[in-house]
């Protein structure tokens, strides 16, 4: 899932300060799971901003609401009235949610309350770790199910490097060496021969380096006729 983290409250308060009517919109998907922008977090942010305004003696209308998935237009459309009626939308979704609202209502100001951090998984309650960078060409079938691109500080395809010592990474001794983990996993799976196979340089054309990526599935796309029908009948 996408893991995000709330921006410092001081920064958020400064962002929203010039606007009279602010709508804070959260999302019940990834950011709710990572406790950054779900219903509870929206309520707490709204309340904290109101307490700050109280401290400053400032009048500002702040309302909070949550949509099911902020990155999908259908769900955003449900709160259109609130978006249109506010001076500023403060998105508590990942950047995708904020950008979806921004694209749908280009005249509206949509500011992010969260910093979108990574594709990660919950390791334990309250701890999330990065496991994928979305390079567009998955190779984990060759690395024991562990992604060296995301988990090795150098994104090495043939590791470990000389900086790996006592199963730790030289970049940060708190960080486990991804290639030590890959070695262990391959050994467990009786596939250690894979670690000796040299992996060729990665084709990064599938990654972000080529600019914005768009995925299209022709069989799922609507025809012009279907789109017109949807516009008419909803």
């Amino acid at each position: 899932m996408i893991v995000a983290e709330r921006k410092p409250l001081g920064e958020i308060a400064e962002m929203v300060a010039p606007y009279k009517k602010v709508t804070v919109i959260g999302c019940r998907s990834c950011v709710a799971i990572c406790l950054a922008g779900g219903e509870k977090e929206v309520k707490m942010l709204v309340s904290a901003l109101k307490v700050r305004n109280k401290k400053d003696g400032k009048k500002q209308e702040i309302e909070g609401l949550v949509v099911e998935r902020q990155c999908e237009k259908e769900w955003v459309k449900e709160v259109e009235d609130k978006i249109v009626g506010s001076d500023l939308v403060l998105s508590m979704a990942c950047s995708l949610g904020a950008q979806t609202i921004g694209d749908m209502y280009p005249r509206k100001l949509v500011f992010p309350a969260l910093n979108t951090k990574m594709f990660g998984v919950p390791e334990e309650q309250g701890v999330w770790s990065e496991k994928c960078i979305g390079c567009g060409n998955c190779i984990i079938h060759q690395t024991g199910g562990i992604c060296p691109i995301a988990r090795c500080a150098k994104s090495m395809l043939n590791g470990p490097c000389g900086g790996s010592a006592n199963r730790k990474c030289e970049v940060n001794l708190e960080v486990d060496c991804a290639w030590a983990a890959i070695y262990d996993r391959l050994k467990l799976q009786n596939r250690l021969e894979l670690i000796e196979q040299v992996m060729p340089a990665k084709d990064w054309s599938t990654g972000h380096s080529g600019g914005r990526r768009v995925i299209t599935r022709e069989d799922a796309k609507l025809t012009q006729h279907q789109k017109r029908g949807k516009e008419v009948f909803g």
Binding site: P8, G10, K40, K43, M44, S47, L49, K50, R52, K55
Partner: protein, 140 residues
Amino acid sequence: MSERKVKVVGFCCERHGADAMVLSARMGKTHDASVRLVQVPCSGRVDGIHVLKALEDGADAVFVLGCLEKNCYYDTGSIEGRKRVNYVKSMLAEVGVEPERVEMFNTSSSNAWKFPDVVARMVEVAKRLGPIGSKGGGKQ
């Protein structure tokens, strides 16, 4: 001019927190009657939003009173309560409001004498800091 009544809200767990409240009264101890006490099933039930909402709605100070941490009726409820109070304190600090307006206390029913002390301490904080947004309230 009469002195302004402070507004303190206390969330007390219905086990040791509330027991301490009742027993302290039976012991003849008194506390400031202006304090609004809210009985909750467990201090772990108190969420950050409850504390923030109390401040937003006019409380000068808020406290949460739970069981002793290694003697919580629900095992870890008072630990959860403390974590949440600490989180709210950090949020208050970020928006420039005194974190000491919010505190977590632990007690047991056998330590009922502590209850009036807890209330007195928070009343003192509320008096010293005043309402949020007053001249004395909120960091400038």
